[in-house]
Symmetry: C2
């Protein structure tokens, strides 16, 4: 890799998600050379991916170019590259554009989909962890309605227009709500000659209740909201297999071409990390300073880090707020180090969580406060707007939301690149090219 | 195809560009059944594609779902399908989702790239006629800068960062201006460690002057604007070949990975039209009523139609304003027909033409008026905003333009789907899937 050698310790950061980006922004790069590596040239605001998938927002407004974010930081270098592995004993990162030497390594590679080893599900379910996946899902949904119009076979229509969302965390709940609004308000006008009563939205959750990480009241309120929108909720239900268009669960079976995977995530660990350091959820076990045991030059932050503490014996929840705090913590660690000062171990400050189910409906939990309904919905919107990077993005998202609020119809239902079944094959071809 | 049979004459329209869409919107569909067929579920505002390619606008704001446009029209059916051919003697259109019978057929299939038979150019140049092509070009440009950073080979850097735009009509001129602004204002901040002086933008034109369809004054003013922005203009220059990264022209040769084709278009005619009806520019020869000679049930409008008249012995220019007027004309024709009234042959009302070269710089020609500079630029913006379909799109485009005006930096420089050399192969794989 072509990075100038300067007389500063070099911090190589893998991944420009919430953790890696926060670190790169807050570290004092007058005294460190920072090299940020990511395969995408943009940062993705993952919490709003479901709105891209359900045609509520354009992809460009929830992504932001990394170079623009880091523009004013001295001694900071972004490189678009795929990391192939790390060689800790050599202090090297191997990428598809060459090797890079580090003094400090920060692994912030995030989490990917966890299909719990089921190959048929992995090959046929639609995930929603990246911008490309969200756009593929948008194409697939819209395409299936176009195709459904052209068949007289009712069973086939059912398959094309039924939705099965697996996992009722915030992502699954929010997507189910967005799809229900699409069904109730928009599709009947777009497809006047298609009987949409046969379109069903099923939300499947293995735990005894949806939004199981939240309070029972929030969870039951969200359930009411979803039911009112017409979503079928299946709690205590495990997905077992997906064979020839049928989703088999521990409860009923569902015939659907649209199996959307919002169920599980696991850490994405670069090759070269010793198996003994890998723990629960395929995350890297680190000490309270987010440091790899036995190697003080290697740090792990965000979803891929497993910091076990008294308060969180199984590690922190894999979510953006933890990642941002760990990124900021690590920047603080490096900045204090310059003055030969130490820091306390990382402590997660849980500011609460929230989920929206649709227009005027959300559940919010913060320290001491729990509330639902329209005010919660405004809080949800405000917080998400403020977390978005870039003022332009905020304006465009705000315009969209206001538009949808008053008109329920923003006109983003575009199949720009059609979705093809053999996505994985196509990907292989692309990589070979 | 699954279209209800109702007791109205059926008008099948192929293509939802400016002509087809205008017709579908203005025809009295209380008395005609209208079936609009397009392979994309959206209408593309082609005049702004170059801003998508140069990362000035998001793709979603210059496209609009066809279903949403036709929502309030009775007896109007959109079908997403690729037309494979027409059988005029059977009054049938063959598509990938089946055959469709028509009483009246309107061919509005537009124009595609014309590489004048040069296969190496066709395979390696980047066209910009569709939203996908514009996005591919955006990815390619940004990717090439990322790759250029990682090579020490100066010749290779030159190849990656040089741009050769072929064709200096409005599209070529506008793209050259947009790339020059990218080079002057944005890239130096995004790529502080890349020497951008080596990046050259060449605009190649076979005719004796750029914007040759416009007045000499406009053309020379646009030339001054482009030169001031640092664009190299090569008039009277023909592109001959593109071999191993070198663009061979009748003048100099250029070493560049970015050969952008804005040079020629030709009609895209569905199979089944008799060769004797095909004229100049691969367009279908029709009479003054846009009607196929010898078959009163078939009409051709827009870029693909060749209406020879005294004023336009070689047919009308292939541009949006002609297409819109022909679409409106044909709707009028059908609507008058209901009352057994006839219409006069089509006459093009030339309202003028315009091109922008960059911030505060444009040239405009209307009946009687010719002006340049900042006022022309405002007129250009206003006209384009008003022509965009959808109020939301206008707001988002306006926000982007204002943003760029004051900050020169909207942060849309995303490589969402990387560009791969073997695009055509990939496409083949997709089609096979």
């Amino acid at each position: 890799m072509n990075i100038p050698t300067i007389d500063l310790p070099r911090v190589v950061v893998i991944g420009a998600g919430f953790a890696g980006l926060k670190l790169a922004r807050q570290i004092n790069s007058n005294h460190y050379q920072v090299v940020l590596v990511d395969k995408n040239n943009y940062h993705t605001f993952q919490p709003l991916l479901y709105q891209v998938a359900s045609a509520g927002l354009e992809p460009d407004s929830i992504a932001y170019p990394i170079r623009k974010i880091l523009r004013r930081k001295p001694n900071t270098y972004y490189r678009m590259a795929e990391v192939e592995g790390v060689e800790l004993n050599q202090k090297l990162v191997n990428t598809n554009i060459g090797k890079i030497k580090y003094d400090y390594l920060v692994i912030a590679t995030g989490a990917g989909n966890n299909f719990f080893g089921n190959k048929t599900i992995e090959e046929n379910a639609v995930p929603m962890k990246s911008l490309v996946e969200a756009l593929d899902l948008r194409s697939k949904i819209l395409q299936n309605f176009e195709i459904a119009l052209n068949t007289h076979d009712l069973k086939e229509r059912e398959r094309l227009t039924n939705f099965v969302i697996v996992g009722a965390g915030p992502t699954g709940v929010e997507l189910a709500g967005a799809l229900a609004e699409l069904k109730n308000k928009i599709l009947p006008k777009d497809f006047p000659d298609l009987d949409l009563r046969m379109m069903k939205i099923h939300l499947i959750e293995a735990a005894p209740r949806i939004l199981s990480a939240m309070n029972e009241k929030s969870s039951s309120k969200a359930k009411t909201y979803l039911k009112n929108l017409g979503v079928h909720i299946w709690e205590n239900t495990k997905v077992e297999d997906y064979i020839e268009g049928t989703v088999h669960t521990s409860n009923e079976d569902f015939y659907s071409d649209n199996l959307i995977w919002a169920a599980g995530v696991k850490g994405q660990i670069p090759k070269g990390i010793d198996a003994s350091n890998i723990g629960r959820g395929n995350r890297v076990k680190v000490n309270g300073y987010c440091q790899l045991p036995g190697d003080e030059s290697v740090f792990v932050v965000g979803d891929v880090a497993l910091v076990e503490s008294e308060a969180y014996p199984n590690g922190h929840p894999m979510m953006g707020s933890v990642a941002m705090q760990q990124g900021a913590y690590l920047a603080h660690f490096f900045n204090r180090k310059l003055k030969n000062k130490s820091v306390q171990p990382f402590e997660y400050n849980d500011k609460g969580s929230m989920a929206t189910v649709g227009k005027n409906r959300a559940v919010v939990e913060t320290k001491g406060f729990k509330f639902q309904g329209i005010f919660a919905w405004f809080v949800w919107m405000f917080v998400h707007l403020m977390l978005l990077v870039g003022f332009r993005n905020r304006v465009v998202v705000f315009v969209n939301w206001m538009w949808n609020y008053f008109k329920y119809n923003n006109g983003l239902r575009l199949i720009i690149r059609p979705y093809y079944k053999s996505k994985r094959e196509e990907k292989k071809n692309k990589n070979a090219a």
